[in-house]
Symmetry: C2
Subunit: 463 residues, 2 copies
């Protein structure tokens, strides 16, 4: 007899009803009285449990009735309707095989646990409702992103994680080495001799795949990356992790406007995909984690995103400056309070802020004709603030060269990046989306540690 996933029973009920079937899963609860009992069985394939009814006609009735929560079972029985009950059907067990018992000190007894406590048992927390829902959404959202880009003929590029260039400039980096840290080889000047390290030079973990991604954009026209990135920043906040996944599309023959259109379409696609493919999980988040979730997501999906320049945004904010802790000056970066005010109070929907002062943005962003601003874009969304950052890239060799000089960067380090501007360079644009930030936005979860299976943060690398 084939072993059926509980998801199939819920999604294709008619073909299993009044049939003998076989399921396997873990007992979320077990209740028994003298001669019968109930088990809520979850097999991880579906958010909801299957109710099992068993009685003392089973030869191992006593054993089953005494099982601890979390035990693994295989159950054979008949699937029957249970009208009027909480669940649409239940399985009348004709045979229960105990695959593995759960010890009495199983930490996930039926009571509410704090997220802080559950982080200490990160190997067990996906067995709870909340984390089962979070990590299913994470899986579906990842797939939705691949589907979105692949349907549009984008090429998925695996950019390297170990990098020999320190010219990405997006944050502090982790060193990767095989040298003996207690006694590294030294050169005649007494410095550490990296020529003897694994790669023959200093290497670090990447902070962004963008520069590498651009090289493939100039071959395939439309590409995306989706992989891990790292920041060795001492930021112990609910929104920073040392290891996180990032999506970085890059499109050729494209300007800032095309870039914004792509970002808008992608965000809407992923939200719709999760709402359609995990309605039970999304309902759970809306009921239990964040009562405004559906309202916020539906607003995003159904609205046309707004557009405002940085300069206009500063004017708007200055008119309301008594609302803010931080000052609002042309030339300073927007604080989260400013970003949220714009998207929540002014536009009441997602808004792209464009054309930031060049001084507060990266060297590779395209200089506008005013010589003061660059063709950058940040997408701000209600409830969070910035969720995507991107730009049109500087495609003009001489302008890029001048920008590197202005910033005191070494052109030689960027030889291959400059080559792209020398050999059939063309206008192009791209953006970066922090995947964990997206999952937080989709689920309402407030701490990045709760959307990463095994989070790596300052002083924490458990499991």
């Amino acid at each position: 007899m084939a072993n059926i996933l509980i998801k199939q029973l819920f999604r294709e009920t008619p073909q299993f009803l009044n049939q003998a079937i076989l399921v396997s899963g873990w007992a979320r609860t077990i209740r028994d009285s003298k001669s019968f009992g109930f088990i809520e069985l979850n097999d991880g394939s579906f958010f909801r449990n299957l109710q099992i009814v068993f009685d003392d006609s089973l030869p191992n009735f006593a054993e089953v009735a005494k099982l601890g929560v979390g035990s693994a079972l295989t159950v054979e029985g008949n699937l029957v309707e249970s009208p009027g009950a909480k669940q649409p059907f239940e399985l009348k067990a004709t045979r229960i095989t105990v695959e593995g018992v759960s010890a009495p000190d199983y930490p996930l007894q039926k009571k509410r646990h704090s997220f802080e406590f559950l982080r200490t048992i990160a190997h067990l927390r996906p067995r709870t409702n909340t984390f089962a829902a979070v990590f299913r959404i994470r899986s579906l959202a990842a797939y939705a992103i691949h589907q979105f880009f692949q349907e549009r003929n984008f090429v998925y590029v695996h950019t390297p994680l170990i990098t020999g260039s320190d010219c990405e400039g997006a944050g502090e980096m982790f060193r990767v080495t095989t040298l003996d840290p207690a006694n590294p080889p030294r050169n005649e000047r007494g410095e550490v001799d990296y020529s003897q390290d694994f790669f023959g030079k200093e290497t670090n973990l990447t902070v962004s795949g963008q520069l590498n991604g651009e090289t493939y954009c100039m071959a395939f026209r439309n590409i995306y990356t989706f992989g891990p990135t790292f920041r060795a920043e001492n930021s112990n906040t609910a929104r920073h992790a040392a290891e996180f996944w990032m999506i970085e599309p890059e499109i050729a023959f494209a300007e800032l406007r095309d870039n914004m259109d792509l970002a808008e379409a992608m965000i809407k696609y992923v939200i719709n995909y999760c709402l359609e493919n995990a309605p039970e999980e999304m309902e759970f988040f809306n009921n239990m984690i964040d009562k405004d979730l559906f309202q916020r997501l539906h607003n995003v999906v159904s609205s046309e995103f707004a557009h405002v320049t940085y300069t206009e945004a500063i004017e708007i904010l200055q008119k309301n400056k008594d609302q803010f802790e931080y000052p609002v000056d042309w030339g300073s970066d927007l604080q989260t309070e400013h970003e949220r005010y714009l998207t929540e109070q002014i536009f009441k929907k997602p808004v792209f802020v464009t054309d930031y002062p060049k001084e507060i943005k990266a060297f590779y962003m395209r200089l506008n004709d005013d010589d003061k601003t660059v063709a950058a874009m940040d997408l701000l969304v209600p409830g969070v603030g910035e969720i995507i950052g991107g730009s049109q890239r500087e495609e003009r060799y001489d302008v890029l060269e001048r920008r590197l000089d202005e910033l005191g960067l070494h052109k030689a380090d960027y030889w291959w990046y400059m080559d792209l501007r020398k050999y059939g360079g063309t206008k192009h644009a791209g953006y970066g989306l922090g995947f964990e930030r997206l999952i937080m936005y989709l689920t309402g979860m407030a701490n990045i540690r709760d959307v990463i299976a095994y989070p790596r943060t300052v002083r924490t690398a458990e499991f």
Copy 2:
């Protein structure tokens, strides 16, 4: 006028024929005579080029005719049939906009370049036929793998790359650190004080996500990982990279047989997906890289994979031992020559070798009743040898504990892994597939450096 991808022109020709259209791309060749010329335009969306015909009715005819190979262009024109010619249609240009010229020293002039040379310009090589094909297949195969598992309700898990446990035991590791290597902090015994490192302890780059993956398998039943892994091994071969991507599914309530069925279905799925979705690229590989490719892939797709135990395989090999350089003894690992002999000469199709001696396999593999072998499986394929390795996992707490003791491993390091056997553990199985090995198999490319965008190998971490 919307900018059309060249792929659309080839796949949906009728709707564009005899229409005015706009395309953008890079000139692969430019030929001109006095009053007219031809450009082979490639936009990266499709393997084939679009032929552009232009003449001196263009105001910038002279400029266009002099352009270097690799220049970026936007072309407006009418798509017309070109019966009898090599290409089914061509674009009669009414306007050509030069987006970016290519300098005369562009290294990809129309001639054959060695793969070795192209590795030195890895930022430009995806603009060649071979590497455009390789990296499109890589993208499609990645997507096929996601599609295969997602269709089957597997949850995609991002296991951590930075690991604080050194108990994976699958190979040498890279250290990840933010300590100053020239002058690390020391404790009172003079040892490096890792409590002051970023994570408060020693950390490395992972060699496998399997152990973490198993924890999610015990919650979701069926999961897979797909992410980078690292080996700091001093192996300078055509098949080893320090950074590579791996796929590791894990299935609960499953035995070795289920595991083999899953691996067989996955391999066939990915091959079929690439043949169907990139026929031009696959044809190119079959014609230009490996004349046996189609024969080999069709054989894999259409055959039912064979199964043989290690003990039976040793008997078969011993009967033919004069064929081999390395000796064949029960208890030794199979060499590539043995693996290839089995799959190519004996079975003439893919074959699973199962039930290896426990001494040559990892601690977590399930001990068979003979107490000598474990429920391991290696999939051998013609032309390569081993492509997948996996096993049923030891789910019995006491047996796993004994195995750890036998191997002198510290149980305390495995507390969370042991917990899985304590709280509703059940039989489960999984395998690992090196993604680059799969791409080599799909394309016939012989060097792993040629299927990774920016390969990281001993003494090499360029770009």
